[in-house]
């Protein structure tokens, strides 16, 4: 057993000496390989952690949201719709929601205004998300002026800043009283943004949705399962930037593997010949080639994954931030919880380490099996 281990070590010694000969080339290979793994792993960690977060946090989302559409656009819902829906069998609770968007021209930011179903602020007061507090430097006690639908200013006092721990869901929220909401947007009471309802038997949700549609044909029911599914497919491999990143990475890998697999240089071939002539067996030569591929890919894989971990969970995906932030001026400040899928990491390992190692061994096969006497001949 000690013999086997010593053999590996000796062969690795030679493999490393061999790699060190072309120091520049192999070092840059290592660097690029690591960078590739880093990018892939970063995307992988980030999207998985975010998806997991969404799937956990949005469990409390409403079971069904019913929107009204008019001329293809989102339309306000009258109270009688609520009454109609509450009559449907299987519906245990119905509530009209009041929420909307407010564009703050001063900060070039969009806020989401929401009237909570319970414990709403008193008229004249608002609770704001920490994102807003941060960008406007607002604290409890400060006054914020809004521009109502009729152009008149409306001043409201900040009574509370929502916790920073909840930023991922509340960063841009403004909780407001029903009275102020209606006044701000010039809405008459009895009109709602949409309807949320609870179904008695969760298995019946689709059936109830069907009933809603039949009862109120100009509505669009959205089920909780669909809400959760949207976030499952967030950052889907199909979408834009992810495709670009992944396909460039895959392309780069293919180029590497191709370079390796397209055969040995005459120098490499000669070297293998010498090794065979001085007594190395075919299996020894192939082992050397294996370590040549494995040394680079193992190191790159580990380094890349570690860097990605730090990147995603310590620096909050610093490098992707411009893309994530986009044109929004209000971006939540959050630290993702490290939900990691071992399955994904294993897949990444097999996709990055194995092909490269194989690509290093395979072209050497023929050279490794040559008759050593041809070396004497050359």
């Amino acid at each position: 057993m000690g013999n086997w281990f010593e053999r590996q070590r000796n062969i690795i010694d030679f493999t490393l000496s061999s790699l060190f000969r072309r120091k520049g080339k192999n070092l840059s290979l290592l660097l690029v390989y690591t960078l590739l793994v880093f990018l892939l792993a970063s995307v992988m960690f980030f999207t998985h952690a975010l998806r997991k977060e969404a799937s956990l946090v949005l469990q409390g989302a409403p079971e069904m949201v019913v929107q009204r559409m008019a001329a293809g656009r989102h339309e306000l819902v009258p109270e009688r719709y609520i009454n109609a829906i509450s009559g449907i069998r299987g519906v245990s609770a119905v509530r009209g929601r009041l929420w909307g968007y407010y564009y703050d021209a001063f900060m070039s930011a969009n806020y989401t205004l929401l009237v909570p179903g319970s414990d709403a602020p008193a008229p004249g007061y608002i609770s704001i998300g920490s994102g807003i507090a941060r960008s406007r430097l607002a604290a409890p006690g400060d006054l914020i002026s809004f521009r109502s639908y009729d152009g008149e200013p409306m001043v409201l006092m900040v009574q509370e800043v929502l916790s920073s721990g909840s930023e991922l869901v509340s960063s841009d929220l403004i909780l407001i009283s029903e009275q102020d909401f209606l006044k701000l947007f010039g809405m008459s009471p009895g009109m709602f943004t949409d309807i949320v309802l609870t179904v008695r038997n969760s298995k019946e949700v689709a059936t109830v949705a069907g009933k809603v549609l039949t009862l109120l044909p100009d509505t669009r029911p959205i089920m909780k399962s669909e809400i959760l599914r949207t976030y499952d497919t967030i950052f889907d491999w199909r979408s834009g930037i992810i495709v670009v990143i992944l396909s460039s990475a895959v392309l780069a890998f293919i180029i590497f593997a191709w370079d390796k697999a397209s055969g040995l240089s005459s120098e490499e071939r000669k070297e293998i010949g010498i090794l065979k002539a001085i007594g190395w067996e075919t299996s020894d030569v192939l082992l050397m080639k294996f370590w040549e591929g494995a040394a680079v890919s193992l190191t790159s894989f580990l380094a890349g994954v570690l860097l990605a971990y730090v990147h995603v969970f310590f620096t909050s995906v610093m490098l992707f931030e411009p893309v994530l932030k986009g044109w929004s001026t209000l971006y939540p400040s959050f630290k993702l919880i490290p939900f990691i899928s071992p399955y994904q990491v294993a897949t990444l390992f097999f996709l990055t380490v194995v092909p490269y190692t194989v690509a290093t061994i395979v072209p050497s096969w023929r050279a490794a099996t040559i008759d050593p006497d041809s070396v004497m001949r050359s």
Partner: protein, 226 residues
């Protein structure tokens, strides 16, 4: 010690450019003796060396090492025999570029899994014996002709083989170094080693150290001397 019986070696058999390098050679080589295959280039002496040293198999005939027939040994066993019994010195030296003298010398023993420290010590002893220990860390491409030759010799000796095989060892050396080489051969002989050399250099086959000279021409033995 080594016996060749009716050996024939044909390259590219069956093809239009088939070449019979060795054509019906039978000979018996003694142990602890220095034998030289002499002849012009293309005479087949290199092929003969390769056959003797288990580097290639004959197309016809049998080769015996001691009393053991090695002609039909499977690849793995043949390599094992080659590794432990023979040490090769090539015409071009064929040192591995880009690595040190010391590592070049240790290379043949790497796959055998010997403990590294012991191996290194043995290699350094050899280097010292041949006077190139000071150059142990130099990259092989920076060596002079003589130093490269001595490195090649050390490498051939690392597994303490019984038989040393050298193919045109003085081809790239001047007179002084050629004489030095033959001195080394003499030393090896006193250490009970068997040496087989292929050369057309008079300095080699004319040396007093040589016990037997076999003249090869067109793949056949033409004459024997001494």
């Amino acid at each position: 010690m080594i016996e060749l019986r009716d050996i024939r070696k044909v390259f590219n058999a069956g093809k239009p450019h088939a070449l019979t390098a060795v054509d019906g050679v039978s000979l018996s080589l003694d142990a602890r003796a220095v034998t030289v295959f002499q002849g012009p280039s293309g005479s087949g002496k290199t092929t003969l060396l390769a056959l003797v040293g288990c580097m290639t198999r004959p197309t016809e005939g049998r080769i015996l090492l001691g009393d053991r027939e090695i002609t039909s040994l499977p690849e793995r066993f043949l390599t094992d025999v080659r590794r432990t019994t023979f040490g090769f010195i090539f015409q071009q030296f064929n040192l591995v570029r880009g690595i040190s003298v010391l590592e070049n010398v240790m290379l043949p023993a790497y796959p055998l899994g010997e403990h590294h420290t012991a191996l290194k010590k043995r290699a350094r002893v050899l280097l010292d014996l041949f006077g190139i220990l000071p150059r142990e860390s130099s990259k092989s491409e920076w060596l002079s002709g003589g130093e490269a030759q001595r490195t090649a010799i050390c490498r051939a000796l690392i597994n303490d083989p019984q038989i040393i095989i050298a193919d045109e060892p003085t081809a790239h050396l001047d007179t002084k170094l050629s004489r030095e080489f033959m001195d080394i051969v003499g030393r090896l002989k006193t250490e009970q080693k068997t040496v087989i050399i292929a050369s057309h250099d008079t300095l080699v086959y004319g040396s007093p150290v040589v016990d037997r000279v076999i003249t090869i021409r067109d793949g056949k033995i033409e004459a024997e001397g001494r």
